[in-house]
Amino acid sequence: MRAPESKCTVERGGFFQAVGKAIYWALQLRGPHGLLSCLSLRPERTRRRITDRPRSWAQEKAADVENVPPVISTPHHYLISIYRDKLFFVSVIQTEVPPLFVIEFLHRVADTFQDYFGECSEAAIKDNVVIVYELLEEMLDNGFPLATESNILKELIKPPTILRSVVNSITGSSNVGDTLPTGQLSNIPWRRAGVKYTNNEAYFDVVEEIDAIIDKSGSTVFAEIQGVIDACIKLSGMPDLSLSFMNPRLLDDVSFHPCIRFKRWESERVLSFIPPDGNFRLISYRVSSQNLVAIPVYVKHSISFKENSSCGRFDVTIGPKQNMGKTIEGVTVTVHMPKVVLNMNLTPTQGSYTFDPVTKVLTWDVGKITPQKLPSLKGLVNLQSGAPKPEENPSLNIQFKIQQLAISGLKVNRLDMYGEKYKPFKGVKYVTKAGKFQVRT
């Protein structure tokens, strides 16, 4: 189970070349047997090189980066890849393995890079090649994941900071820890030992996203609420927390961070856990589908293309609906216009819009919605002359944010801490966002 990495920047059009080069870059990163040597990824298995298949694969499927299948079979290998932040992370496999195992691991690798370097970009990886090697060395042994918890990794290899690199260059001390992180041996491998803070704080963000498909007439085809609770815990020692909800029954399907005691949840519907240090995702959940989802915005739209004419009309108005006294902010409307659209000439009553004539993406940054004056975007669409008018109107993707509100009505009841003497500062924040929110027109 074997997951090395290759990477590339991808732009439309430049894709073949980019992939060709990128795979090469990756090949160069690989060890004598065709893989990143520091990954020790079953080197013997990949002795025969991956051939030039990756490139042809990329060429075949290059039409759309998004459509490169995650699992590709080549004569001697299987390539499992993920695409993130304009990079492909490719793992070369020779034998049967659950594909999700590899995919999940590659995402962890990308997460770790993100965590360490602040961004997961080609430049960041190239700049930190040594740390990348050291990290992968710890994360993987002979293709089997070793340490993937960021708390443990950070004890083993300290993330690069300017200060530390200066200090290290003077004192000659290293970024690499020389003892086994204690977490790795305990049954709470996610928490590092000896955590000390002067201000002990625990913050929870309840973030809910509304996934919805609204049809032409404005009725809801499909809507559901997905939520996560992200935590930022800065508590000394070994705190044992339990978080309870006013209305836990709302949560229909939940997935947990490994720190959560499942049995406690089953019996009492209480989240009881010893938290990792720092930021992590505590749970993600889905609100049971019986509850009707209150859609906080409505959209009035009329988009039409005239037959045998090189223009069309575009008129979109967006307004609040059942906003529960909160303002809807951060509203953005994104539209993938049909290919025949050449340009758009619009006037917004609020915010600003951009239209990219290459990707045909219209983005309207609305901002806050005030019910007194509904924002709208009107104007003309220039079409390629002679081309048949588009069959279908494009659908609108809408983003918004409502602070201080969990749309499902989920409420945290209390947070208790056991095992430590001090009094932590506790905070809960609620946000509702649009997830995959699509309006068909």
């Binding site: 030039d52 299987y78 002979n142 041996l185 498909i213 993600s284 095992g419 699509q438």
Partner: protein, 879 residues
């Protein structure tokens, strides 16, 4: 092609020349190749100097640059001797980077690599478990066949190490050694067997991985560990969980009888399992018939359920496939919710999960029906996700939801993504055939699409309509006429061919149009696609047979054209048709039946899901995703007719002790035990707070698990004879006791039933209580100062355990694993006697060991250089 072979050389690291060439080419671009090339050499020179320097910072800098070179694909192999010297560096970062370098180049420079071996051997005895583990990792990653015996020895030692972390690495090393030298298999299996008995959650995943890799067919090794693995599963790290679950799925399919038997009576069976009182009579009546699930089977299903809540998609998928393959069908429903949850994840996870759902939804529609809307397509989904969702929607379509679905499909047909629109049309066709109520609606909808502007949509509609009409030989003259008109405008070959075929097949229904179509086609014959040409020939033949008056000449004209066509298929077909339909003296009996042959009733095509035949692959596997057997795919066997003896999973205490003692004895001879305990102490003092904390936490956790009040008696009785190693096998005792009661129960089935129930409930309550107590044990661990006294308190309460606990405290080891505290199995550095004679010979051949055959562990570092020289002399060609 040329670039390919070029890169191959680069990869295999074979040709020095190509390497150099590569260097040169890579440096050409900035300025003159020659100058830079030489400066490159110089650079290596200064790297060498830096590596020789006394300052760690300079060495570190050099190593970082070398790793950078490796990353860029430059050849850094000439630095090998300089780098290898630093393998003994005290600085851990330098050491690690040297390891990186070694793993990369050792196989190329085998002789030089040997220089580092002694350092690793010393590191294998290092008091720091991290260093021991990483030394083992690198040692086993150096693919130099000559050190196989050393690796074997190191693995054996590490497998008995005190630190579970080192043992985990030993499990990983097993696979590496196996791939280097498969002949070691037998010995490695022994190690695997031993490590499988390990109770540490750290080791479990890795050793099962090694098992799957080395000896997946030795299912017998699992028996005794089956229950332990099931119980540990929740606590194992997530990657291990995936591997274990997959292995246990296979295991369950060989060891238990199918829970799917008599699907109709399934509910009854389930009931009988739960409320025994009512069903008892029934059970005695038909003793053999009703199915009762083996408690071990139940254990697995029950213990994996919480993992559906994992944040790791791979774990969720693994549990889902376990439920799919081994749980009773009525229980598999719970996985759908979790799988649907995964659809919120990134596109790669979606892709795999949707594929698996597609396979599942063919066989058991009901499972995913409630989530129908979760599979609705968004215009922003990538095409591959869209088509998979469409596939699932089709599988889920039934009379009740088809109207909603068709409305949804209408939106899809208009999609800008034409590939997806075409797939939607196919889907509509499939729905139309599967659900007879909507066939006409679908057909008229598809006919409307014929006037669509987009050619791909029209073409796809034609193809689908053709299939539909074929299935329904009713009167559809109008549609055919409409399609005949399309021939003038449509250019997609498949669509044209379909129309022609359709007209030919129904030529008697459209007697006026058909000949005219043939006329038009005869005109354009030469410019048509091969596919269309074949259909023109067919059409001609059919018309010739039904309406020879009007079309005789036309057909002959077409046949003449076909005779000289470039494509041999078409020439062949022409010849065949001519012989068959045109009567001449040579034509035999067949031509009499020509009409019957050409216008025979053709079976309608079946519109089937492309996922139909994927179900023979285990879900969640690579093979399933590819729909082809991947190398190393392990077949999921069919349920056995009769369950193999379930008692093999009983863990008998005495047996266990016997198995353990010989190994222990061999090692007990060794006096270096002190060495280890010292080391552990040292470590403890360095970070004692955390260690003791975690220790007490984990231990008390395990005690909770074992301290099952309801079965204390059995535990006591069985642990008495085994005061030493009793502790480790407490859990086994408990289970053995349970099993005893069960087997007793089997004798008289009435009681046996009850017993089963009891043990089940007690078991679950046990698990429950342990989890509740877990929190308390955790809180214990927080206050370090209290922890020891705390755990002592516990031990006082449990007299039987007190001895061992004190024992444990005395050794003061900071480990999870109970085995470690068992003196019998205390591993110690292996001295001379443990070496096999052949190995000694090998080592002497290597000239690595100086005086003793303890593999040069004790060479003082000053001697290192001397040894190097010795080795170099041994292999003069290295110079």
């Amino acid at each position: 092609m040329s670039s390919n072979s070029f890169a191959y050389n680069e990869q295999s690291g074979g040709g020095e020349a190509t390497e150099l060439g590569q260097e040169a080419t890579s440096t050409i671009s900035p300025s003159g190749a020659f100058g830079l090339f030489s400066s490159d050499l110089k650079k290596n020179e200064d790297l060498k100097q830096m590596l020789e320097s006394n300052k760690d910072s300079a060495k570190l800098d050099a190593m970082k640059r070398i790793v950078g070179m490796i990353a860029k694909g430059k050849n850094a192999s000439e630095l090998f001797p300089a780098v290898v010297k630093n393998v003994a560096s005290k600085n851990i970062e330098i050491k690690k980077l040297v390891y990186v370098y070694l793993v990369r180049y050792a196989e190329e420079q085998q002789d030089l690599a040997l220089l580092s071996i002694s350092t690793f051997q010393r590191a294998l005895k290092d008091p720091n478990q991290l260093i021991r583990a990483s030394a083992l990792r690198v040692l086993s990653s150096i693919r130099v066949p000559i050190i196989v015996p050393i690796m074997m020895l190191a693995i054996k030692e590490a497998a008995a190490d005190l630190s579970p972390y080192v043992r985990k690495n030993a499990a990983h090393a097993i696979q590496k050694l196996y791939s280097l030298d498969p002949e070691q298999k037998e010995m490695l299996i022994e190690v695997i067997e031993k490590l499988l008995k390990d109770k540490s959650i750290l080791v479990a995943g890795s050793v099962v991985m090694a098992f799957e890799e080395v000896c997946p067919d030795r299912i017998d090794l699992i028996h005794k560990n089956y229950r332990k693995l099931c119980n540990l599963l929740v606590d194992v790290e997530e990657w291990g969980q995936v591997v274990i679950i997959h292995m246990l799925t296979r295991y369950a399919r060989t060891q238990f009888v199918s829970p799917w038997r008599e699907d109709d009576g399934l509910e009854d069976n389930e009931k009988s399992f739960y409320d025994s009182d009512d069903e008892q009579k029934e059970k005695t009546d038909k003793r053999k018939k009703p199915y009762t699930m083996d408690p071990d089977h139940r254990l697995l299903i029950r213990n994996t359920k919480p993992l559906l809540q994992s944040r790791n998609a791979a774990v969720v998928m693994a549990v889902a496939q376990l439920y799919w393959h081994i749980s009773p069908k009525s229980e598999a429903g719970i996985i759908s919710k979790s799988l649907v949850r995964l659809l919120r994840s990134n596109r790669e996870v979606q892709y795999i999960v949707l594929q698996n759902i597609a396979t599942m939804s063919i066989q058991r529609k009901g499972m995913f029906e409630p989530y129908l809307k979760s599979f609705y397509v968004r215009s922003t989904d990538p095409t591959m996700i869209k088509t998979l969702k469409l596939e699932i929607l089709t599988n889920l379509a039934n009379e009740a939801n088809i109207s909603t679905l068709l409305r949804e499909f209408q939106t899809y047909v208009k999609s800008q993504d034409k590939q997806f629109a075409a797939a939607t049309i196919q889907t509509i066709g499939r729905c139309a055939t599967n659900i007879s109520e909507v066939t006409d609606t679908c057909l008229s909808g598809l006919v409307c699409l014929l006037s669509n502007r987009d050619e791909i949509v029209v073409a796809e509609s034609v193809v689908v309509i053709k299939k539909l009409l074929q299935m329904q030989p009713a009167q559809h003259g109008e549609i055919i006429k409409h399609m005949a008109k399309l021939l003038d405008s449509i250019t997609v070959p498949v669509a044209r061919a379909s129309i022609l075929w359709l007209i030919g097949e129904n030529c008697e229904r459209v007697p006026k149009i058909a000949p005219d179509v043939l006329r038009k086609m005869a005109k354009s014959f030469t410019s048509e696609d091969d596919l269309v040409k074949l259909q023109i020939l067919n059409l001609g033949a059919k018309l010739y047979l039904t309406n020879s008056k009007q079309t005789k000449l036309l057909t002959q004209y077409i046949l003449n054209l076909g005779k000289y066509d470039q494509n041999y298929d078409i020439r062949d077909r022409t010849r065949f048709i001519r012989q068959l339909i045109v009567p001449n003296e040579k034509s035999g009996a067949l031509s009499k039946y020509a009409k019957k042959i050409f216008l025979a009733q053709k079976p309608a095509p079946l519109l089937e899901s492309p996922f139909k035949d994927r179900d023979h692959f285990q879900l969640g596997t690579l093979s399933h995703t590819l729909n082809a057997k991947a190398a190393g795919y392990l077949e999921l066997s069919n349920w056995p007719e009769v369950a193999p003896d379930p008692s093999v999973r009983n863990v008998e205490v005495i047996d266990l002790a016997k198995e353990w003692t010989p190994a222990g004895k061999a090692k007990n001879e060794n006096p270096t035990k002190k060495f280890y305990s010292e080391s552990e102490e040292e470590e403890d003092s360095s970070d004692s707070s955390s260690d003791s904390g975690s220790e007490s936490g984990s231990e008390s956790g395990e005690e909770d698990e074992e301290g099952d009040s309801s079965e204390d008696s059995s535990e006591d009785s069985s642990s008495e004879p085994e005061s030493e190693s009793g502790h480790q096998s407490d859990t086994e005792n408990r289970r053995a006791a349970k099993r005893n009661s069960k087997t007793k129960g089997k004798g008289d089935s009435k009681d046996g039933k009850k017993e089963n129930e009891k043990s089940k409930t007690s078991d679950s309550s046990n698990a429950e209580s342990s989890s509740v107590e877990e929190s308390s044990s955790d809180s214990e661990s927080e206050s370090e100062s209290e922890s020891e006294s705390e755990s002592r308190k516990v031990t006082k309460e449990k007299e039987k355990k007190a001895k061992q606990d004190r024992n444990r405290l005395a050794t003061d080891a900071s480990l999870l694993d109970l085995d470690d505290f068992n003196p019998v199995s205390t591993p110690v550095a292996l001295p001379t006697p443990a070496l096999s004679p052949s190995l000694i010979a090998d080592l002497e051949g290597l000239n690595l060991s100086t005086s003793s055959s303890v593999i040069s562990v004790w060479i003082p570092s000053a001697d290192l250089r001397a040894t190097h020289q010795a080795t170099l002399q041994q292999h003069p060609h290295v110079k």
